[in-house]
Symmetry: C2
Subunit: 276 residues, 2 copies
């Protein structure tokens, strides 16, 4: 069959969106659509402009025989700003305060659309870096880790705090929970992370950072290094934060259980952007 440009553009958009950070040779498209390479190059030029203009992402073309086109998620600051405001409003509801100072956020973490949008922002932020895996700790960080990893085209590695691991031998470390000061342990299956990997740590919530610190220690056991830390929410007013390099979307402060009040402001996303 013969493909029209309009049909090619629709199919290529879908294909590229489903293959982020993958090099796709132009011959792949020219064979798929039975079209000349020059036509495919024109298609890609149109896609590239529209992707950038609409904040869909960045298309990078690599010339030469081993070349092709690569799609990177790229979210503009103008898209992130209203999204962070939206998140702040969502978190600001006093209904979220639970006994013990916990925050109800199962509805936010349970919404695949929100997780996908946060994952896009995280992936966009780290799109220029070499990242081999996204790491998180069970349970609530998992959706965000997958959303981020899908856009970065890398696997997810899940650390556990219980020992209900049925994935063979494990590496375990002890860490000190920053808030409760208790010694706890976390485990990772040996087979699940390759030596020397560069890892992005993602979590839903960070208080003192003990859990994230634990994950960094665990990385050392695998001779792996960490490429960055990205959290959805951080709780402010912690005397000694154990982790200082991270990005956050939302910041909570002055949680007052008796008064049922909570202060929500934007996280350090834009501050850290300026510092880069």
């Amino acid at each position: 069959m013969s493909w029209k440009r309009s049909e090619r553009l629709i199919d290529m958009t879908n294909y590229l969106l489903n293959h982020p950070k993958s090099l796709i040779p132009l011959t792949f498209f020219s064979e798929r659509y039975d079209a000349a390479k020059s036509s495919i190059s024109e298609d890609i030029a149109i896609l590239k402009d529209t992707f950038e203009l609409q904040g869909i992402g960045k298309l990078v073309t690599i010339p030469g025989a081993a070349g092709g086109v690569k799609y990177f998620v790229k979210v503009n600051d103008e898209q992130v700003k209203p999204f962070i405001e939206e998140l702040c409003q969502l978190f600001a509801s006093p209904d979220r305060l639970l006994p013990g100072g916990y925050l109800y956020m199962a509805d936010i973490v349970g919404d695949p659309k929100i997780m996908d949008r946060v994952g896009r922002v995280f992936a966009s932020r780290f799109s220029n870096q070499q990242i081999d895996a996204v790491m998180t700790v069970a349970t609530k960080g998992i959706p965000l880790a997958y959303a981020t990893a899908r856009y970065l085209n890398v696997p997810v590695v899940i650390v556990r705090k219980d020992n209900k691991i049925t994935e063979g031998s494990t590496v375990s470390i002890n860490y000190v929970s920053g808030s409760s000061k208790r010694i706890q342990s976390m485990l990772l299956a040996k087979r699940s992370l390759q030596e020397g990997s560069r890892v992005l740590i993602v979590d839903d919530f960070m208080k003192a950072g003990g859990t994230i610190n634990g994950m960094i220690s665990l990385l050392e056991e695998f001779n792996a290094s960490f490429a960055g830390i990205a959290v959805l929410v951080e709780a402010e007013d912690i005397e000694n934060r154990l982790v200082d390099q991270y990005i956050s979307m939302v910041k909570l402060s002055n949680v007052d259980i008796n008064e049922k009040k909570i202060e929500v402001q934007q996280g350090n996303y834009f501050d850290t952007l300026e510092a880069e």
Copy 2:
């Protein structure tokens, strides 16, 4: 600015893919692109044909003042068949057998691309049904539940077997594990599921079905009903399967730990299709 058709088609493809099962009024697009409704209708006709031809999905147009266009994920059987074969090969490696008869599958469950593709198939299979939420049990079912829920445009509800829930009051039930015959309990936060919801249960692995049976009991406590059960892998040769209505992608049988052998065949996906 004035939009060309090619630019509109690229942007509309991206927009529709990001908003599955959502009714988008034609006026939304005509305002977005400053274009006549008749042009938008032509755009949608082109999108509809290409989406169907390429197995991207189904576009349904609803006429009238309250109408618009809705994108449904729809995977063709010709796409599912080779994918199931691919999964079977992935599972067939003898390296996966662990002491105790467990199967190493962290690499498969940890691959966002595979999870996304399985989620597409599950969502496509249940796209015609009323589904209000996807339910799974922590931990390994979570990625698949999100991948499915994203395409169905519904929230994910996560049941836990431990009591480390910090989401307020919970409902708990006891259930009998089908394999070990032990009594265990599972919990769900009260706020996380609305009464009367129709729920799709998704999990990575099903042996005797005790866990899934437990989730069905839990649904009753919430006056919710179940719309279906979808699992990635089922283990065959169970004397008394506790659950008989489900779809599976892969079926394991004759797991022989001493001989390090495992038989992998396709799940019941296509059998249940014929029965519908």
